[in-house]
Amino acid sequence: MDEWKTLQDELAREGYVASPDLAMALHLAIALGRPLLLEGAAGVGKTEIARALAQARDTRLIRLQCYEGLDAAQAIYEWNYQKQLLSIRAAAEDGEGARAAEARIFSEEFLLERPLLAAIRQKVAPVLLIDEIDRADEEFEAYLLEVLSDFAITVPELGTIEAVTRPHVILTSNGTRDLSDALRRRCLYAHVDYPDRETELAILRARAPQVEARLGEQIVGFVQAVRKEDLEKVPGVAEMLDFAAAIAGLGVADLADDPAVLHVALATLLKTQGDRAALPPEVAARLAGKAA
């Protein structure tokens, strides 16, 4: 009954600090065999959880990065055309009949697996990460629904390939467009937000143990304050970790010590010209002073 807590601990051992909500959603998704849809701003660790889960369960992570114009050939399978061409030439020289050649070149041997097909043919159930599903087109979303409900893929020349094991499916979305209700209904859902102070401290301790406790608290306090500023790109957890690494690497013992160094290290947090301008050294120093 407390498996979700066990899962949370497992993830924590892999350096992923999951909120109770997220751990529960993930646990249910695994227990019920349903896909899990994660939504939230960029940089809150949506993708990372799939990696952590794969490591915790000691299984493969298969990732499908979605983009506009993604089609079946890149997501499911493709025929190995070069090999087919060569084979046809060879067949012609050997005097093999066209029909026999056709049967041969449309067989398993010439099939190239892409993520979705690979995911249903693993002996141990892998973690299938479908990243940024909102970037893919609606047509692909519809196709994905079919795969996610049947876990079977039909190749016209070969027939239907049934799933050997059901992958643990995690979908992420940044919300650049509304996903269809059908897809939402197939999935369990969790909204991932920027971590609160305590959680972020735990993340920092897990991922960058070399950072001293007091400095760590300053860093997290500073980053949380920066997030409240009016920025184009709000720094995520990964940026926070980069920033912490930079600060630690520069040998800073106290964030408020040296505004110049702080300003240099900000390059890891703020990624646009406008944001750099929005946070001049004085402001950064003030925020750091508050955090200290």
């Binding site: 009954m1 407390d2 498996e3 979700w4 109770p20 909500d21 529960m24 959603a25 646990h27 249910l28 998704a29 227990a31 019920l32 349903r34 939504e39 506009e68 114009g69 025929w79 055309y81 087919q84 061409l85 046809i88 030439r89 067949a91 012609a92 066209a98 050649a101 056709e102 070149i105 087109d137 940044n174 919300g175 650049t176 467009r177 209700d181 939402r184 209904r185 999935c187 369990l188 859902y189 969790a190 909204h191």
Partner: protein, 393 residues
């Protein structure tokens, strides 16, 4: 968590109670079906049901489908299971009685769903008041008109039908232009290997005829912002009808209203029942006919919704007369910010049709440098006449 709902002695069991809860959620606008009920029941097998926190998390993962749902779920959960909300009727539905529970609550709940308030008081006028409260915090306003106008008087279903035709044409105009440009840039791209190989079998592996393939055209997305402040009341009518038509013609359209606040009306307009859509719109548009803060509304839009939904393939349609009760500088800055996202901006101003009109309103003057098209639009006919113009930008 000390308060616990007491159920009647002839309580029909957890399955029926859960069904009642899902009906409760459904009444508040959650899209849940029989499949979800089954999933929810199965989910409860995996948690300690007596622990309200755990049950809450489990049911939230199953029932909520989007970020807004997550926010509303907790209040609805409390209201149903913990008696924290209103206690209007004892909810102990049996599997058989499910239908009646829904119909008794449907009316009240459908209205409050538009506002996202779980525990709204149920008085005759209560729904309207909570609507004002629930959504009124987006922008603090000095000039909000609390005299509510019923948009049913403003937009009729017949208007919507007519507007749909115009909207479809305009959508087509934008799309056509897009596809022309793509095709020209794409000449000769992409060989369909699959088909080519198959054909080459007939000629002994010699690919004599190359099968080609092209990428499908991606339609542009329209995001519309309509000013419904006092000075625009006359013109808002055809434009809202036009928006309803646009929503029905194309699933990608996004629509917002602004006066002293900014309100997203996409979901309301997309309601399959046109009359109910207008009802929901009415709830969302209190303050309709008051002052306007164009700059603030646009700025808020550029900072929040636009980040999500506006990209290089979006046309942002703004309908406003440019009379702003706030700082006009903000308008320019907000539009510049919006432009950075790569979208095209069309400003439709009903006053532009007038003889001798010059964009002297300070807001309008500030906006001009950032516009791709500045055109008159006061009536549906004006909008229809825009077609060739829109095709050009």
């Amino acid at each position: 968590m000390s308060r616990v709902t007491r159920f009647a002695a002839r309580d029909p069991g957890i399955a029926a109670r859960l069904t009642g809860f899902l009906a409760h959620l459904r009444g508040h606008g959650f899209a849940l079906g029989i499949g979800e009920a089954e999933t929810a029941l199965r989910a409860l097998e995996h948690v300690r049901v007596a622990d309200p926190d755990m049950t809450r998390r489990a049911l939230r993962a199953v029932c909520a489908g989007r970020a807004e749902d997550v926010g509303r779920f907790d209040a609805l959960f409390d209201a149903f299971w913990l008696n924290a909300g209103r206690v209007r009727e004892r909810v102990t539905p049996s599997a058989r009685a499910d239908k009646t529970t829904r119909s008794t609550r449907e009316d009240a709940t459908a209205r409050s769903s538009a506002t996202g308030r779980a525990d709204s008081p149920e008085g005759e006028d209560g729904a309207g008041d909570t609507a004002a409260e629930g959504t009124g915090k987006l922008i603090a306003s000095g000039l909000r008109n609390l005299m509510k106008k019923d948009l049913r008087d403003v937009v009729s279903p017949a208007d919507v039908a007519q507007a749909e035709i115009v909207a479809r044409q305009l959508g087509q105009a934008l799309r056509d232009r897009r596809s022309r440009r793509r095709r020209a840039a794409r000449k000769g791209a992409g060989i369909d290997f699959r088909r080519t190989i198959r054909r080459s079998l007939a000629s002994g592996g010699e690919p004599l005829a190359l099968a080609r393939r092209t990428r499908p055209d991606r339609p542009v997305k329209i995001t519309a912002l309509a000013d419904v402040s006092g000075s625009m009341t006359l013109y808002a009518r055809p434009f809202l009808a036009f928006l309803s038509g646009l929503m029905r013609a194309d699933g990608d359209t996004d629509a917002y209203l602004f006066h002293t606040r900014l309100v997203r009306i996409t979901d309301a307009l997309r309601d399959p029942d046109p009359l109910r859509a207008l009802n929901r719109l009415t709830l969302l548009s209190d303050g309709f006919g008051g002052g306007s803060k164009i700059g603030e509304a646009l700025d808020l839009f550029a900072r929040t919704h636009a980040r999500r939904s506006v990209d290089g393939r979006t046309v942002v349609l703004i309908l406003s007369d440019g009379y702003d009760s706030a700082d006009p500088e903000l308008i320019g800055a907000a539009l510049a910010r919006l432009r950075k996202r790569g979208c095209r901006i069309v400003w439709l101003n009903p006053l532009k049709g007038w003889d001798g009109y010059a964009p002297v309103a300070r807001g309008m003057a500030a906006a001009l440098p950032h516009l791709d098209l500045f055109a008159p639009a006061g009536t549906l006919a004006d909008l229809a006449a825009l077609e060739p113009e829109l095709a050009r930008i």
